[in-house]
């Protein structure tokens, strides 16, 4: 084998010496070949990703749709009664809980993280930046189960003391854990976006007599807007889809949360709690798949809304 390769190599070496014309052609062909090769490899990768997404939507949707063989659309979407053992599969409570949990999480996380990003770029001294950025990067990489465990063992007892509740589980605990989880993500990505705003914008604004606050709010924030929106999307999708951290602190009881400290359940936590205990061919299983499908749809819709909003703003600007 090795001798054959050597022969080829020596032959090629000989031909290189013979004619420079031939050599140029060889090189051209080689470049053409590698260019094409890599183009097709990556095109293939992109198509494979699309195919995976399509398969996920198709298979989850296909199983999910079977739900409506046994119950009506209204029963599923407009009822809050989730008692699988008695044949009630109302998912409305989970949908509303998911939306409100995401809302509360963003309400807590966005102002703090964007503020942190501004502090990092505009105000903090260099040594502080160099210290905080790697710390934030480390925080992004911590597995969610660790956050969940900390929530269960540290946060919940604190909340219990503070609120006087017996349990402490509920939307508030989950939102706090999620906010802590997505804070570093949003902060780091918006940090990059803000740092990418050209210095001349700031200088021009200062030259016109702006205060530092005015520069940040009226010049840098709009200029970095799209990047910050992208950061929020990243954080939000992580919050919506998060399961392990949520399931540990939310109480896992299928009911609509009317207060922040009521044991409740969201789409993800309900799926993970029940999926291993259901029979494959049952309405219950189909309904759980339908909930997973809904989760996909909800995050698609939210991403679309935010994309549209940021596009509109760009056109206005």
């Amino acid at each position: 084998m090795s001798t054959e390769v050597q022969t080829i190599a020596s032959m090629e070496g000989a031909s290189l010496l013979k004619t420079s014309n031939r050599r140029r052609f060889n090189r051209y062909a080689r470049v053409q070949f590698t260019n094409k090769l890599f183009k097709y490899i990556f095109l293939f990768s992109i198509l494979m990703l699309c195919l995976v997404l399509a398969l996920v939507i198709f298979f989850i949707g296909k199983t999910g749709i079977l739900t409506f063989k046994d119950i009506t659309l209204a029963d599923f979407f407009l009822s809050m009664d989730w008692t699988p053992e008695e044949g009630h599969f109302g998912a409305l409570a989970f949908i509303l809980n998911t939306l409100s949990l995401t809302g509360i999480t963003l309400l807590i996380a966005v102002p703090i993280s964007v503020g942190m990003a501004f502090l990092l770029v505009e105000i903090a001294p260099e040594w502080f930046k160099q210290f905080v950025r790697p710390v934030l990067d480390l925080l992004v990489g911590i597995p969610s189960i660790v956050y969940g465990y900390l929530g269960l063992t540290v946060l919940i007892p604190l909340l219990r003391e503070w609120s006087g509740e017996n349990l402490g589980d509920g939307l508030f605990a989950a939102a706090l854990v999620l906010a802590l989880m997505i804070l570093p993500t949003i902060a780091r990505v918006s940090d990059e976006a803000i740092a990418a705003v050209p210095k001349k914008y700031r200088e021009a604004a200062y030259a016109l007599g702006s205060t530092r606050l005015q520069v940040m709010m009226r010049v840098v924030l709009p200029a970095a807007g799209r990047g910050i929106v992208a950061a929020i999307i990243l954080g939000m999708t992580r919050a919506i889809g998060e399961t392990m951290a949520v399931v540990m602190v939310i109480g896992n009881t299928a009911q609509f949360a009317t207060d922040l400290f009521m044991p409740t359940s969201v789409l993800t936590s309900n799926i993970v709690m029940q999926i291993s205990n259901v029979e494959f061919e049952s309405t219950w299983n189909y309904a759980l798949h339908m909930m997973a499908f809904l989760l996909l749809i909800i995050s698609f819709i939210l991403i679309l809304i935010i994309r549209l909003m940021s596009r509109k703003r760009r056109q206005e600007a």
Binding site: M1, R30, N166, L167, G251, T253, P263, V272, M273, S276
Partner: protein, 286 residues
């Protein structure tokens, strides 16, 4: 360049071919007992299954056993679908139980006795509960510890999600078939035995239920109708909250599967490793 690529791919194909022939050669070698056993299902039985698999594979090196635990009902389901040869289940899945229909054509092989215990947080002063009191607590009629002889504080109910094998057995044996009702407050569902222990251990005034194997000094096991939950009391018939653990198979087991189940049921394993893992040998119940 192209020539080089061709030469390289040739080499690749040749070596792949060599590897495949090697493997198929190994596989066609003759052995008395060989095969692959996949075991799926109950997490409560998993420690025992893993131990048995380890010992069995030492005796029969040609048998490959893959065991995993997810939830009781996945056991018989995996057997039904043909994914697994053995489905570990905390109840007899060949007959109807509350919430689950019988799995047709499956055979339940008893392998162990699993005791369950009612546990409370260590701050709870109550040390004995009757069937009626437990029924009241889990159906939501009794909400304060003072009503069952404790101090004046709310009872926090922790329960397994519907469909858990532990819950099926606890409802049948400890609550006399009674319901577990969800409540707006002081009520929480957990997904596994480990979570149950953590939740009861860290929540003041909490009550829950768990396999006796998991009970340790983090939580307090309470008496049931005046009887301490111990393996001795299960064996002498005083403590009623226990069930058999089953290996479900499609029809009567054959070949390596049969040999494995027989090994688990053998006196050597039942009196040795099984006892060490705090399960109760089958023979003790006769």
């Amino acid at each position: 360049m192209n020539k080089r690529v061709r030469a390289f791919s040739m080499a690749l194909i040749v070596s792949l071919f060599a590897v495949t022939t090697l493997f198929s050669g190994a596989a066609s070698a003759k052995e008395e007992l060989k095969g692959r056993i996949t075991i799926n299902g109950s997490t409560a039985l998993l420690p025992m299954t893993l131990q048995a698999a380890k010992e069995f594979q030492k005796l029969n090196p040609k048998v490959k056993i893959a065991a995993s635990g997810k939830g009781s009902v996945t056991g018989p389901q995996a057997v039904k679908k043909g994914i697994a040869q053995i489905g570990a289940c905390d109840w007899d899945a060949s007959i109807d139980v509350p919430g689950f229909k019988a799995f047709e054509g499956q055979v339940a092989n008893k392998v162990a006795v699993i005791p369950f215990a009612t546990i409370v947080n260590k701050n709870v002063g109550v040390s004995n509960l009757t069937t009626e009191q437990l029924k009241g607590i889990y159906s939501g009629k009794i909400t304060n510890w003072k009503d069952v002889g404790g101090s004046d504080s709310d009872i926090v109910v922790i329960t397994r999600a519907f469909g858990s094998g532990t819950r099926v057995n606890y409802q049948l044996k400890a609550l006399g078939g009674g319901d577990i009702t969800k409540k707006k407050e002081n009520y929480k569902e957990v997904g596994s035995s480990g979570d149950m222990k953590t939740a009861v251990a860290t929540t003041p005034n909490a009550i829950g239920y768990i396999d006796l194997v998991y009970v340790n000094s983090d939580v307090k096991a309470v008496k049931f109708n005046g009887v301490e939950p111990t393996t001795d009391n299960v064996i002498n018939g005083k403590y009623k909250v226990w069930s058999y653990g089953y290996y479900m198979t499609k029809g009567q087991p054959t070949g390596a599967t049969k040999a494995f189940i027989e090994y688990v049921q053998s006196t050597k394993f039942q009196q040795g490793s099984l006892k060490k893992l705090k399960f109760i040998p089958l023979s003790a119940m006769k």
